[in-house]
């Protein structure tokens, strides 16, 4: 074991012996001083998770959240100094964390918040100009072969629970007492400008966007969506994407 191996082991495990090389000017027990580092590492990582998952924390309370986060931190150190990437595995950890079982939508809420952080720092892209959009969409011959490239931050979430409404209620965008947590919900999470948007969508739109994000052509996406949702409204769907500035390109599908 190297010196820093010993140091790291002692940092992460309060039961592990202190590094042998530690010294204090007054001969005091170095454990008290070493505890500053132990505390800094763990608390700063728990704080980082609390920043990314504020509603998740509210749902279970700060004490429960921090105790749960502490267990995650002990198992999962960051692999990069870029802290906005830290904690991507936290929703999966919550899903398997039995003491959180009484809040069955907790892991999905964490997933929603994780997607918001990802969208926030994702690459930028400008929407296609209205003129170009009009030109491309009016060519009905090639339209079915066209792919719809959405903003790079666009991601979908689907839950058996009303996490989208619950999240909105915690932003004061909806009334909490009106939310039935046991309603399945879907949302598109995207950051077309500076602000991340959580856009509630219906199952048909979810299916359609799933196809588009999987690089299906407009024709194939429509066909697939109508199989399960025959009343799918393509014009309304494209209208939403255009209005929110989410279409960044309409390339022709490359034959595979």
């Amino acid at each position: 074991m190297s010196e820093q191996d010993d140091f790291v082991t002692a940092l992460l495990d309060p039961e592990a012996p202190l590094p042998r090389d530690l010294a204090t000017w007054n001969g005091s027990d170095p454990a008290t001083r070493f505890a500053v580092y132990r505390n800094n590492v763990t608390v700063s990582l728990i704080d980082a998770l609390a920043d990314t998952y504020p509603v998740t924390q509210t749902l279970v309370g700060e004490r429960f959240f921090r105790a749960m986060a502490r267990l995650f931190v002990q198992k999962t150190l960051p692999q990069s100094p870029v802290m906005s990437r830290y904690g991507a595995a936290f929703p999966a950890f919550i899903a398997d964390f039995e003491p959180a079982g009484s809040v069955p939508y907790l892991a999905d809420m964490a997933r929603l918040e994780q997607l918001r952080t990802q969208a926030c720092h994702c690459a930028d892209a400008a929407p296609l100009s209205t003129a170009r959009l009009t030109q491309l969409l009016s060519d009905t011959q090639t339209l079915p072969q066209q792919r719809v490239a959405l903003h790079p931050s666009a991601q979908l979430i689907r839950s058996d629970y009303a996490v989208v409404s619950l999240w909105a209620a915690h932003q004061d965008l909806a009334e909490l007492h009106r939310v039935n947590p046991c309603t399945p919900e879907q949302a598109l999470i995207v950051r077309p400008g500076l602000d991340v948007e959580v856009i509630p969508i219906d199952p048909a739109m979810y299916r359609f966007l799933e196809q588009l994000l999987g690089a299906a052509s407009l024709g194939r996406a429509l066909e697939d969506t109508c199989l399960t949702h025959p009343d799918f409204d393509l014009v309304a769907a494209l209208g939403l994407l255009i209005q929110r500035g989410l279409i960044v390109d309409l390339p022709l599908e490359t034959t595979t």
Partner: protein
Amino acid sequence: MKTSITSESLSCGAPAQAAQAALAELPVRAGASLKPDHFQYILNHLPDIGFFEIHAENYLVDGGPFHHYLTRIRERYALSIHGVGLSIGGESPLDLQHLDRLADLIDRYAPAVFSEHLAWSGHAGFFLNDLLPLPYHRATLQRVCDHVDQVQNRLKRRLLLENPATYVEFSSSNITETDFIIEILQRTGCGLLLDINNVYVSSTNHIRDPRAYIDALPPGTVGQIHLAGFSQEQDGAGAPLLIDSHDAPVAAAVWDLYDYALCRFGPVPTLIERDGNIPPFEVLQAEVRLADERLNSDALRGRRS
């Protein structure tokens, strides 16, 4: 075992001041940490501030509001970039991917200064999110110098290395911190980011004389100064243990030590560093003004003498 410094390099003469001028690419004024809470205020009010400083790692993202605001603020202000993740004091090899991303960030924003820490924060592929201490002896000196060389070669610029705040010492250390730093500066050509709060915190924690620490450092090597607040605890024997918390105003004793350092080093670009309990921008700006007043009065003193 102490490394020797020539008496010439210790004298406060004109050559030292010339070297200082060459180092100080930032305006010789006080600046502030740039915090997302203040982005909009800064663009709306364009406060009169010498420079802003960012933590590099917060901006190693592909897009979004951080780059949007930093781009606009950079158009109007001088910038220094402060890294917290290179782990220059680490046993592990430097993370080359991280170094590449830093190089891209530096190319994009052309900061006047890039600085890092005499500390380690990563080990065996993991990042520990704290600045951890290292013993001072020949082997660690070699390791740090190799890493500083590697960073400067990759970034094609001079690094400023920050003196640490520490809570423990090591029985294997046989070089003083100042001699350790001086030898790094001499061997690698990097400059010193002198964190006055760290000098005060470490000196209190290890019962050393903070002024002697300042006196031991050669003029002409300090490219930037950091000032910040600390919090206070006690060690196992009840002795004061100061924590470099960056979440409070600069303490009176640290201001005094800053004055002392300015007398020795002359006016140096100075950052008011704040990372926790972020106050409204005006409060931070008031602290920046206090530093500016000290910088100006010292400049006057320097001209009179």
